[in-house]
């Protein structure tokens, strides 16, 4: 060509933004939680159901690092085993929520038209229904209660929310010129969904997923607190806090340790989600 060409310079420094060390600390803590939950049976832990009447309501000691409860059960072991419930409900419910809500949201925003308006109207009505109450009502009347049922109910209840977020995120991308450009080049819808839309929605989806897991874990905690989650004696963070309320005047550790475990877990999830959002510059969509 006759024109001398301008030298491309890096306009936006790619690695200018950093996730920071705290981010990796959080990732590490979460990974530790997950690993401990998976490998709990192989760890040198005391049986969480074993009741040692010699040490009741004991404070932290070498033998029981976080002490024991009013039945002499080891708190550390119960916290580790209890995390399984939180993790299972959090990841399972979000798997259902995203598995159903995400494809629907993406399709609706990309296709628009009648499909979108009907689906969005349905979701709008579902959102108006107070999800927590519906979840409580269904869980309590759908007996007998099992972990799987809890996961399914919470998962389905989260679908409208996931749908709304993903649809909004997709809508912001689907109107961009490069999506139209891909149509103009004769790309199939499938190709556009996977190659143009998905990579741009993924960051939003991931950070919302993390926040969603945090919300579901909180909800499970609240359900357990009300005695509506897994049945005792199976430990979960929520029912541990609930059970120890009666004795918390004598042994505050019983409340504080599981609370701390839950809060740290949530803090890490929220922090990672928040960092990812600012890292990927997700500003256009309100979560």
């Amino acid at each position: 060509m006759s024109d001398v060409i301008d030298e491309p310079t890096v306009l936006t420094p790619l690695r200018g933004k950093r996730l920071g060390p705290l981010f990796w600390v959080c990732v590490g803590w979460l990974a530790l939680n997950v690993l401990a939950a998976i490998l709990a049976n192989f760890l040198p832990l005391i049986d969480p159901l074993f009741q040692n009447y010699n040490v009741i309501n004991a404070g932290p000691s070498l033998h029981h690092l976080l002490g024991t409860d009013d039945l002499g059960r080891d708190i550390l072991s119960r916290i580790v085993f209890g995390s399984r419930v939180s993790l299972a409900v959090g990841s399972g419910a979000m798997l259902i929520g995203f598995g159903v809500g995400m494809p629907l949201g993406m399709l609706a925003a990309y296709r628009r038209g009648r499909f979108d308006s009907i689906l969005t109207a349905v979701m709008y009505v579902l959102l108006a229904f107070p999800a927590i109450i519906a979840v409580i009502a269904v869980i309590s009347f759908w007996t007998p209660r099992t972990l799987l049922k809890i996961i399914i109910v919470i998962g389905l209840a989260s679908v409208p929310l996931v749908y709304r977020v993903i649809r909004g995120a997709t809508l912001a991308v689907a109107t961009k010129d490069y999506v139209i450009a891909a149509q103009v080049q004769g790309c199939t819808d499938r190709r556009i969904l996977f190659r143009e839309l998905l990579p741009n929605i993924a960051p939003i989806a991931v950070s919302f997923l993390l926040i969603g897991v945090a919300t579901v874990v909180t909800l499970e905690g609240a359900l357990a607190f009300l005695g509506l989650s897994v049945n005792p004696p199976t430990p979960s963070w929520g029912n541990m806090i609930n059970e120890s309320r009666t004795v918390m005047a004598q042994n505050p550790w019983l409340v504080i340790f599981p609370s701390l475990a839950l809060c740290l877990f949530l803090l890490c999830l929220n922090f990672i989600g928040d960092r990812l959002r600012s890292y990927f510059d997700v500003t256009e969509v309100k979560l």
């Binding site: 009505v125 108006a128 109450i133 909180t218 609240a222 309320r245 505050p252």
Partner: protein, 316 residues
């Protein structure tokens, strides 16, 4: 504007209808015979017969709905088979407690969130902003049921403050001082949860608004900073805040069951949990219906306020 409100109103009626159908059919979604669900397995045939008659369970399902909705529209939500009391009157005594909790907590939350968010947004990443942001972030990760447990542990048990512990609730009409004392911890807990959300949303929207050209324009008119913050920046930044507040307050309607349950405050949430525990199906159905309609009305109200705050919304 009028057109917009009419459109929203039509939508509102539609949603309320769908909710009523949903609440009604809730029972048919559950496995087993409705009479068994409502009365439990050990019910006498006489009771079953009464129930069948009361709900018209042997009639076609559409007709059942119309019988039911007719009763509901007359304020009759049925009579609980467990407590033998009218569901509607139970809800009427419980609801004011929720209302009081909501008002107390929201006044606290807004009173703290709005000035702090505006302060924070003025110097993003300044000292105050960092402290507040980190603080709100931490609070975000503490579920309300932990906050209330810790508050009870430290304030009513360790410090022994009167009338703040479990089962110290007294109705407002009998002794309003004790009533307020007994609601102080739950109201504070709910206020914290709301504050965190409001603060974070308003802060980020304020920061975005303050970078808008019309703020520079307002400065170039020589207006005071105070005037720019309140007259020019606050209103366009409050749309998301109001929307979230609508959802949040709707969620608090019976959503505060955790604090109510812990402290034995007989609001809607407590009644709901108690109803669930005693398998009082009609009571649960009544609360689900009332709360859902309440949520929709609250959202409608906030949508209306938003359209007043931002004229662009009703015009699109």
């Amino acid at each position: 504007m009028l057109k917009y409100m009419v459109r929203r109103l039509v939508m509102l009626v539609g949603i309320v209808f769908v909710i009523s159908v949903g609440s009604f059919y809730l029972i048919h979604l559950l496995p087993g015979d409705p009479a068994t669900v409502i009365l439990g397995t050990g019910a006498s045939p006489a009771n079953r017969a009464i129930l069948y008659k009361q709900l018209g369970l042997n009639k076609p399902i559409i007709e059942q709905y119309f019988i039911w909705i007719g009763n509901v529209l007359h304020g009759n939500l049925g009579t609980s088979f467990i407590s033998q009391t009218s569901v509607a009157s139970t809800i009427r005594t419980a609801f004011p407690i929720d209302l009081e909790l909501i008002i107390l907590s929201q006044v606290l939350a807004f009173a703290a969130a709005i000035p702090l968010a505006m302060r924070s947004a003025r110097k993003p990443n300044g000292f105050l902003d960092r402290v507040l942001s980190a603080g709100s972030f931490t609070l975000l990760s503490i579920p309300p049921f932990i906050i209330i447990v810790l508050l009870v542990l430290f304030i009513s048990i360790k410090l022994g403050v009167n009338n703040t512990g479990p089962s110290s609730f007294v109705p407002f009409t009998s002794d309003w001082v004790i009533n307020l004392e007994s609601l102080s911890l739950p109201a504070f807990t709910l206020a914290i949860a709301s504050f965190v959300v409001y603060f974070r949303i308003l802060r980020s929207d304020m920061i975005a608004t303050l970078q808008e050209e019309f703020i520079t324009m307002a400065r170039s008119k020589g207006l005071s900073r105070r005037r720019i913050m309140w007259r020019h920046a606050f209103r366009p930044s409050s749309v998301a805040l109001l929307g979230t507040a609508g959802v949040n307050i709707g969620g608090l309607l019976a959503g505060s069951f955790v604090v109510q349950y812990l402290l034995g405050i007989p609001g809607l949430g407590y009644t709901l949990i108690a109803g669930i525990a005693s398998s009082d199906y009609l009571l649960v159905q009544g609360i689900v219906l009332v709360v859902s309609v309440g949520v929709v009305l609250i959202n409608f109200f906030f949508d209306f306020i938003i359209s007043l705050v931002d004229p662009r919304i009703s015009r699109e």
